[in-house]
């Protein structure tokens, strides 16, 4: 699964967006199952098993992939019984989210609602409440579906991902993490253990907006915007991430750079939104023509920036 070619990835992408093929088996291929109690045990299992072994976290993407026979890992290493990987806390200058934190916990966290509502926004848009009970933060980012909602938020937040292997841990920046559709910078023998985000003080605000055909669906397009504002007017830092408009989540770098030093006038927001759309590369599919999606990036970026600004300056929304 880790060595999927781009073409195979695209195939999964297309298939998951379509209804299951009639007559297709909905039973996964056989596999070996292990349920380690510790992280080191999980890592050593990953090292000693074949390159097609997979980590099972919430399973809300992996199990459908297996049922559709788009992936047939030889072994699943279930990390759900490892303690200490489910937390949301601020320490040493970072907001830290354990990889096994359930989406429902992101959605309901008071800390996130108060200080990092962009994550709360994105979490509450992922699938439906029952799927969110099992789905995890780490799984949502490391599955790296370009239509998943957390990756864009992570790009906007300049998040970092802690990858742990037997040799220790390394930190991967979000902009280097999302390599391609269903492909991250994680190596096979590494497990994503923590997502960390530079801790915010006052003057920060963010929002995630998603356009979907119906509740619980994948995004037609989505935009995450996070800004920090000095003296209530000037943008000091900006992060913009885009969902479902390319082969991975996209960071709208030009728009971010343009915003620095700007006062958020209607004109500045409009220019930034057009730059964000320029960073997108949407295809045409069941969810609409590429042209339409690009237009929607303009609309969503405008709204997300306005909401981010309101939140950064202590307004409601």
């Amino acid at each position: 699964m880790n060595e999927l070619t781009h073409k195979q990835s695209q195939c999964i992408l297309v298939s998951l967006r379509l209804e299951p093929v009639r007559g297709l088996h909905m039973i996964p291929a056989s596999f070996e199952y292990s349920s380690p109690k510790t992280l080191s045990e999980a890592i050593s299992l990953l090292e000693t098993s074949g390159s097609d072994s997979k980590i099972l976290a919430g399973g809300q993407s992996l199990i459908p992939v297996m049922k559709l026979r788009l992936g047939s890992p030889s072994r699943l290493i279930d990390i759900n019984n490892i303690e200490g990987l489910n937390y949301i806390r601020e320490s040493d200058g970072f907001l830290r989210i354990g990889a096994l934190t359930r989406i429902v916990d992101l959605e309901s966290s008071e800390l996130l609602k108060k200080k990092y509502p962009i994550i709360n926004d994105a979490a509450s848009h992922i699938a439906d409440p029952t799927v969110r009970n099992l789905g995890t933060a780490g799984g949502n980012v490391s599955h790296a579906d370009p239509a998943n909602d957390l990756p864009a938020a992570m790009l906007a937040l300049s998040a970092e991902f802690v990858a742990t292997s037997s040799g220790g841990s390394r930190v991967i920046k979000a902009k280097d993490f999302f390599v391609d559709a269903f492909t991250t910078a994680l190596k096979h023998e590494e497990i994503l253990t923590e997502i960390r985000i530079p801790q915010f003080t006052v003057g920060n605000g963010g929002a995630y907006l998603k356009l979907e055909k119906r509740v619980g669906d994948f995004a037609i397009a989505g935009v995450a915007a996070q800004i920090s504002v000095t003296q209530g007017v000037t943008v000091a830092k900006a992060g913009i991430g885009l969902t479902a408009v390319g082969s991975s989540a996209i960071e709208a770098v030009e728009a971010e750079q343009y915003l620095i030093g700007q006062t958020l006038t209607a004109e500045a927001i409009s220019t930034a939104s057009k730059l964000a759309a320029r960073a997108s590369n949407p295809g045409t599919d069941l969810r609409g023509p590429g042209e339409y999606k690009r237009e929607m990036i303009i609309v969503l970026t405008t709204r997300a920036l306005k909401r981010a600004y309101l939140r950064a300056t202590g307004g409601a929304a």
Partner: protein, 169 residues
């Protein structure tokens, strides 16, 4: 050779054990190994919610969980709602308010509703609609389902006021 694993799961309060293939889905374990056919299979892709059950008190779509993952845990299915011949308030609500037509989505819908009411005793209509947004019904248009859940919410409050035990596990 097929490798089987021994699992022990408490289902509706009863300890059940079996040797299963790791790839066996929880919904198949419930329906085929335990003959608990109240839990339905709908879309098989974690969209429709017909297979919703509770795993350690939290709703999951049992078509997207392996039975081995339930090892050592507690599962509640729709069969576990009633207390003998006495219906659970949510079942009574679906009965009284005609919360179903074909009934296919009903078991999953009721499990989602029970979970919602455990978290929120006084849900607004919007909160109810959000709470069941992982469960699809193609017959009712949801109006009667919402009424059934409102009925159950009232009933549960009355039950608690009378100091009676709430049946849901």
């Amino acid at each position: 050779m097929v490798n089987k694993m021994h699992i022990a799961v408490t289902v509706n309060g009863k300890d059940r054990e079996a040797d299963v293939e790791p790839r066996l889905l929880l919904v198949h374990f419930l329906r085929e190994n335990l003959s608990l056919t109240g839990t339905h299979i709908g879309c098989d892709t974690s969209n429709c919610g017909a297979c919703t059950v509770m795993l350690n008190g939290m709703t999951v779509k049992s078509c997207t969980v392996f039975a081995v993952q339930a090892n050592g845990k507690k599962v509640t299915t729709v069969e576990g709602l009633a207390n003998g011949a006495k219906l659970h308030p949510i079942q009574e609500g679906f009965w009284e308010k005609h919360g179903l037509q074909c009934g296919y989505c009903t078991p999953g819908m009721m499990m989602a509703a029970v979970a919602l009411l455990q978290k929120n005793q006084n849900p607004t209509e919007e909160e109810i609609r959000r709470g069941i947004s992982g469960n699809l019904c193609r017959c009712t248009g949801y109006v009667k389902i919402v009424e059934a859940i409102q009925y159950a919410a009232e009933k549960l409050k009355e039950t608690q006021q009378q100091g009676m035990e709430v049946p849901a596990r």
